[in-house]
Structures are given as structure tokens and as C-alpha cells.
Symmetry: C2
Subunit: 290 residues, 2 copies
């Protein structure tokens, strides 16, 4: 994908590798580009066409039996921009081929089951891009930070997540896991601006401040979760997100790269085109009212 | 909503009233406008902003307890443009507030239940726009045309649909039912162009020709279903759809009018804004890494 916007491949630059340290990631950085907000918006529009084309092929081929699909997991601290990613990147796709799940605090029924019980039914079907806004990773992040599950149970969950992701990957699900990384200063600014703007105030949740004060513990939990569950078939990407325009265009690029690896193609029909044309033409004089 | 595009209100013109006769609707007409395709596209973009603004308020107020929501039922013959409506009208909304269900031929499990069993769980929740691509109306259309259900059972279903829609309307669901109306000639052209284009061929289904020959019986079934289930709280709109640009901009306008009737407002916060600001500012010096 030729582009003047990217000077280097953000998919490679943002992918978590050996020896990854979250504390070394600068939330203000814009790896892979020297461009600015306006150019970022232009690139977002340009890449949207590419994304939509790939999505349409992925969906089309599933109608004739192909099983490929994509699961995008979004994790972040509050106000880091998950909603913006959904509304600016994934809203550019076709609704038929998009399955968004926003995981909330588990219900009483969900808590009575294993933590993956509510996740399994949300795995996207063939041809679909599934997006998890929060996910099974909450069960090793918020639950660890607040001690809602003990260390042994958290250990068990890392293993369960690895097995789960391995299994669905073997079944044709391409998995991409993304952490949007903001600084605590940036989060404070965004939460304040939500309080200030009557049209944004509904997004503010007093609980966000309660979580915010646990920032170091959350970062430690992210570091460990990422280390423990990063895999070739289910890679983590950590995206600097203080600049919203950068996070959006970078996530879009990561998603495009994953779709390109799935390599969708227009499917071959399973019917005889000439015969169908003849059948159709035989009904050409149909009129109503007659 | 001031607009130079509309010379008359399409919502009023397309709404089914007493003495409605489907055979009197011209699929080539463009009620309420003298404009053309290019102006239709411009209007679609303009109205999209209005739709998105209303949707965001509807979703926002639901986060603080409001129960209003919208259900849009789309019914039509094959290739009439349901998919285009979804991809050009509803793809312009935010994914969080959109719940699309494409109903297929019922599964064995679904057939073992009453026809509304699979519909109930798909009724949109508070703040959401639900879109049904096909719906419970298939059970009085295709099932009637092919005699899959007898006359008494079809009669029972009209009554069951009326009760069902009355009940969910009483619970806060604003219902809008739309038939996209194409001519059989236009359908033939569209099916042929699907056959001709390798990038559209996957949309072609040999079964479409089998259904097509039952056109008069389908129109009779539509006429009766519309007559029997048209109601103040669940009105039918019949939208001429030979011109795709018209159908899209008209459906968009109908949806906007329904949202305006719901009258969503930015919700008032249920917390003390000044107190929250103080709590947040007390954490302003949080840094990580420390």
C-alpha cells in the first residue's frame, strides 16, 4: 500500500516484541509518520476505502463458504479513545460485516460462569470483523488491580486466554489485540473536557477517577497481560494515543494489514452463470400490475 | 428541517393511509422532490449529519435511563435495495447505537418455536436504532405465497404481529415499517447486472428467479400484510425504489422524522459536576512512569 503518509510501517513498529516494556512507550509519539492532524484525517479517509474494499471481499467470500474472519480487541484506560476508534475507523465499514461488542461489568449470571463464558458467543462468524470494546482482558486487568481474583486465579486466566485464542485462531479467526496508550495527564484533560461540555458530560463516569488513581497498578497489569499473552497468532500492538488522529490512522492501518494477511478474494459462483442468465431472461416480460 | 431538496414532506406522502392500494404506487416516482441523482447524493450527506446528531442524543440519554429506541423494519422483493439502505443510510450512524439483524430462512430450532420467538431477542435496547433486514413479515409473505402456512395460521399471525408491535411500542419502541417497491423490470435488470459483474456475482442467488415468478402473489401478500398491520404506533411506508438515490434519501428522511418524534435530549448528569472536577483536579499531578 503505497502512501506518502507513512515513512515506515506502523504495524511493525507498534507490534509488541521480545523484551517489550510499556514504560518505554511514549504516548505522545507518532511512530511511522512525521505528518500532522490534517494529513492524518486525509489518510484516514484514503485508508477507509481500502478497508471497506477488503471487508467487502471478506464478507462476500464467506457467503460461499470461506471461514476467514477478524477479531479486534481494544483495551485501554478510560477516555483513551476506544469509542473514537469505533466511531471513526469501524463506522467506515459495512454494518453487515461488523459485529461490535462493548463488554460491561459482568452481570450476576455472567459472574456465575467462567470468565470466557460470555466471550465465546461474541466471537465473529465467517466474513465478519468482530470488535471487542473491552474484552476477556478485563478479567486480568481490573480484577487483578482490585484483587477481585487472587494471584492463582489470575495465573489460571492467562493460560485460559492463551488456549482460547489459540483455538479460535485455529478455526480461522485472525486476532489483533490493541492497547491504546495515553498518559495520565492526557486522561485528566479529556475527563475535564467531558465535565465541561454538556454534550459530552454523559460520557463521564465518577468511577473513572476511582480507577485513575490506580494507574501504576493498571500499567503493571497491562505489562504482564501483554507479556503473557502475546503470540504469533494473537499479537499485541501498543498504540500511542495522546494524539487521537494518530491512534485512529494507526489502528486502521493495523486492521488493514490483518485483513490483507487473510487475503480475501471475490468468490467463484457455485452456479452456472449462462444458465442463470437464460432462466432470468425467460422471465423478462413479467409485468405488475399485469 | 429546512431543505431545498424536498418540495413536500416525503414522510407524509409515503405513509400508508386508508384505502391504500399497492398497485397505484409507481416504482419510478420520486414523491416530494424534483431533484436528480447528484442532488440526491448531496442531500444524503447533509441528512446524514442530522441523523447522526439525533442518534448520538438518543444513545446518550439512554445511558442515564431514558428508554426510547427505534425499530426500522425493511421488507422488499430481492434486489430492491435493502442492502444499499443499510450500507448508505445506516452505515452513517455510530456502531454503538445500531443493531442490525438480517433474518434468514428459519433454522430447524427456530421453526420448532412460534414465528416471533427469534424476533423478540432482536428488539433494540434503549438508545439503539434496530434495523431488521427482513423480519417477522416474512412469515406472512413468503410463507403465504408458498403455502408453508395455511390461511388460518396466516390470519393468526396478523393478529400476533399487531399484539407484538403494540406491546413493544408501549415499552418505548418507536416502529417504522418500510417496503421498498421496485418494478419487476427493474429487478430483472439488477439481477442481470449482478450476474455480469464478478464483484457482484456473490450477491446473486438462483432462488431469486424462483421467487420472482411469484411476483403477483407476493404483491397480493404485501397488500394484505400492509393493510392488516398498518397502525398509528407502527406505520407502514411504501417507498418507490426504482431510483436507488431516491429510496435512500427518502428512507433516511423517514428515519430522521421518527427520531425527531422520539425527541432525544442531552441527558442531565446524575453527579455533582463541581465535586467531580475537584476530585479530578486532586489527581492532576499523577505521572507514570513516576
Amino acid at each position: 500500500m503505497a502512501s506518502e503518509f507513512w515513512t515506515d510501517d506502523p504495524t511493525r513498529l507498534l507490534r509488541v516484541g521480545r523484551g517489550f516494556e510499556l514504560r518505554d512507550v511514549d504516548p505522545d509519539a507518532t511512530p511511522g509518520t512525521d505528518s500532522d492532524k490534517q494529513l492524518g484525517r486525509d489518510e484516514l479517509e484514503r485508508q477507509a476505502q481500502v478497508l471497506r474494499g477488503l471487508q467487502e471481499k471478506l464478507f462476500a467470500q464467506s457467503r460461499l463458504g470461506a471461514r476467514g474472519r477478524l477479531l479486534v480487541v481494544l483495551q485501554a484506560m478510560d477516555a483513551a479513545g476506544k469509542g473514537g476508534i469505533v466511531n471513526h475507523v469501524f463506522s467506515q465499514t459495512e454494518p453487515y460485516g461488523l459485529a461490535l461488542t462493548a463488554f460491561k461489568a459482568p452481570t450476576e449470571e455472567e459472574r456465575a460462569h467462567d470468565f470466557l463464558w460470555r466471550v465465546e458467543p461474541r466471537v465473529p462468524g465467517p466474513g465478519v470483523i468482530g470488535v471487542f470494546d473491552r474484552s476477556h482482558y478485563e478479567d486480568v486487568l481490573v480484577q487483578r488491580v482490585h484483587g477481585l481474583a487472587g494471584p492463582e486465579e489470575i495465573e489460571r486466566r492467562y493460560g485460559a486466554i492463551i488456549d482460547f485464542e489459540r483455538r479460535i485462531a485455529d478455526d480461522g479467526v485472525r486476532i489483533v489485540k490493541i492497547m491504546l496508550h495515553v498518559s495520565p495527564e492526557e486522561q485528566a484533560e479529556r475527563l475535564l473536557s467531558r465535565l465541561d461540555d454538556p454534550e459530552k458530560r454523559w460520557k463521564y463516569n465518577p468511577g473513572d477517577v476511582d480507577e485513575r488513581v490506580h494507574w501504576p497498578a493498571y500499567m503493571e497489569a497491562f505489562q504482564t497481560a501483554i507479556e503473557r499473552t502475546n503470540a504469533e497468532h494473537a499479537p499485541w500492538f501498543v498504540v500511542p494515543a495522546n494524539a487521537k488522529w494518530y491512534a485512529r490512522v494507526a489502528v486502521q492501518r493495523i486492521v488493514i494489514a490483518a485483513l490483507q494477511e487473510l487475503g480475501p478474494e471475490w468468490p467463484e459462483p457455485d452456479f452456472d452463470v449462462a444458465a442463470e442468465r437464460a432462466r432470468l431472461e425467460a422471465t423478462a416480460d413479467l409485468r405488475w400490475p399485469g
